[in-house]
Amino acid sequence: MMLRKDMVENQAEMEVKAPTALIGLAGQPNVGKSTLFNLLTGLNQHVGNWPGKTIEHREGFCKIGEREARLVDLPGTYSLTANSPEELVAREFVIREQPDVLIAMVSAASLEQSLYLVSELICLPAPLVIALNMVDVAKQEGILVEPDVLQAAIGVPVVPVIAARAVGVRELVAVVDQVLRGEVLVTPNLPDIRADHRDVQREVFRLIRDFVPEPYPADWSAMKLLEGDEEMTGLIRPLLPPENRARLDRLLGQHEDAMLAIASGRYEWIGRMIRAAVVNPGLGRISLTDRIDKIATHPQLGVLVLAGILGLVFWLTFSLGAPIQKWMETRLIAWMVETTAQVLAPAPSWVSGLFTDGVLGGVGTVLTFVPIMVIFFTCFGLLEDIGYMTRAAYVMDNFMHMMGLHGTSFLPLFLGFGCNVPAVMGTRVIESRSARLLTILIAPLVPCMARMGVVAFIAPAFFGAQATLVSWGLILLSLILLVLVGIVLSKLVFRGEQSAFIMEMPLYHIPNGRTIFMLVWHRTISFVQKAGTVILAFSVVVWALSTLPHGEMQTSFMAQLGHLLAPVGRWMGLDWRLSVALLSSFLAKENAIATLGVLFSNAEGSGLADAMAAVYPPASGLAFLTVTMLFIPCAATLSVIRTETGSRAWPLVSVIIMLALSTLSGVVVFHLATALGMGA
């Protein structure tokens, strides 16, 4: 019997430490998992990478009843095999971290397929709660799913939700709370292997049962071995006594087709589960998706539709984004530079220079691209969310085949027109590692806004009325080289390897503002973070190189470097000043203009362009523009290539490729142009 005082103290202690819970959120791609995750965690989420991998790790906190639950968003996968790092990450999480509840999201609009992942998850020890999403989309197609019946069949709570409209989320949280408090007994009805293989499975289980290491469940491991799972096989075989191992090898060798029996068994289970729960009078009805797809995936019309949509995206980005960018450049950044100069007036001039030219000049200029990116990302995010992007990939697949790639590479490459950084980041959607690498290597050949900005600025001075023609020509050159390099790389380096093209095409559905916002937010923030760190560091370095040792660019280290490279530059008709400008564009493409401005000191704005035209023959101007267009990727792009490929080698390869391309093109263009009479 405790004294009242003790009881009161203990109570107080318990209230101070609110119980916590670990919850996993799993689901196939396209079921609306991220929408739910965003709803549950709001902005309380943290995005990083799974340790040692380039797979995005998202987790956040949400309130479940009285608990602070840590919600981890698992990578969207169709199954839990060992064939991709995403699947391995997902299943390792469930097995090792042992979440208190696992929310499995399925889509009522594609129930059979999305239940496949559930058929795998249900065999793992974590208690399952199924969130049945998109009941509205299903209803539109005439498909009605009865969650209670499904729940009774599977033996696991099933909560209908419409994540896109935040419907059913409260109920879902309540059910998860009940499971956490042990008020609901979860008694799953497990799938079995197809009948003709049951004995084999029992035998495998018997052979390994006593040797399976914690925390892997033995029956699950037996099934994985039969599936031919490389990771589990590698883990368990060495732990078996030689006799068991030999028997196991023989058994597995005789039943190499067991995976089919397992998959069939799962789909049989799924079939039974949904037979009672799904009412589908809509069979044979032409859905809205079908009607739109008649045009959107039409072999010829589809391409036109795509071109039209992308043209629209471009137009929106430029007409809305460019003015904002201009404003930022001329007002905001200029104001910041002035203010900083004033504030730092008492300090030595190099400090002021460091901040105004180095920091603000570099970082500031890059940041002015943020409005353009936000618009671009929003358009893309919208197209992605309604489900159109899979159609775009389908339509472009034929063309991408030339480069040994699939339609799925087209989208990240198109993002490159805005900025190469999100293009490289966007290659995450590509499943095959070699296809992803190839796409990353050719992405810098997509002319980004910054490069086009430099061209747009300088071309008129040299070519007057023909400036637009020249600009388009340069863009075309870049794209032609992109295809050529893609073809060469895929034949030589990737040896014509082609991954399988299998892509689920979800039904079109109403976009969700919150999801799109989160997408845009994360992409923009990561770019800004890059600007904040990498570019800041480089800004200072470039500024230092261009001012030291005497405080003026003409005699700086940078200039010395330019002089050093002058002989090479001369092949392309570039003198040391243009070479220096090129070097500074490594940081950010638009720096080329700023540097030239300094080198031609006193020549500002359009005065600079004219000043250059007076000094250089058109052939040099053309060569300079060509080289700038194809020059090595900017610092931010290289840094992202490094993180996405997880190695320092690939950014180097990219640099070498672009360097080679740009110098060769520069030389060819210069001599060709001179021969055509544009020389000095």
Binding site: Y267, D293, I502
Partner: protein
């Protein structure tokens, strides 16, 4: 029911009235027999529902490039190479 084989160049005759998915016309239905071309592809497609006995119908098949099938209530786009590896029998029974 006997059907005259469709006129397609490089058409592989499969034993026993079987044909390849790539040879199905738009609107036609079929039943999966097996997926050829290695375990990797076979397993990957099994996960998405291409198991022996699975019923599918062709939504779009332009004769070149990828095609779109409806399988287990979901639309799936498949590359031409991949569709040539799916052996099916025509019809629903």
């Amino acid at each position: 029911m006997f059907r005259f084989p469709q006129r397609h160049p490089k058409h592989e005759r499969q034993p026993g009235g079987e044909t390849l998915l790539s040879d199905l016309q738009e609107g036609e239905e079929g039943r999966v027999v097996r997926v050829q071309g290695g375990h990797r592809l076979e397993n990957r497609m099994a996960v998405l529902g291409f198991t022996p006995g699975a019923q599918l119908s062709v939504i779009q098949n332009p004769g070149f490039g990828p095609l779109i099938v409806s399988l287990r209530g979901t639309r799936i786009a498949l590359g031409r190479q991949e569709s040539k590896k799916v052996v099916i029998t025509r019809g629903t029974a």
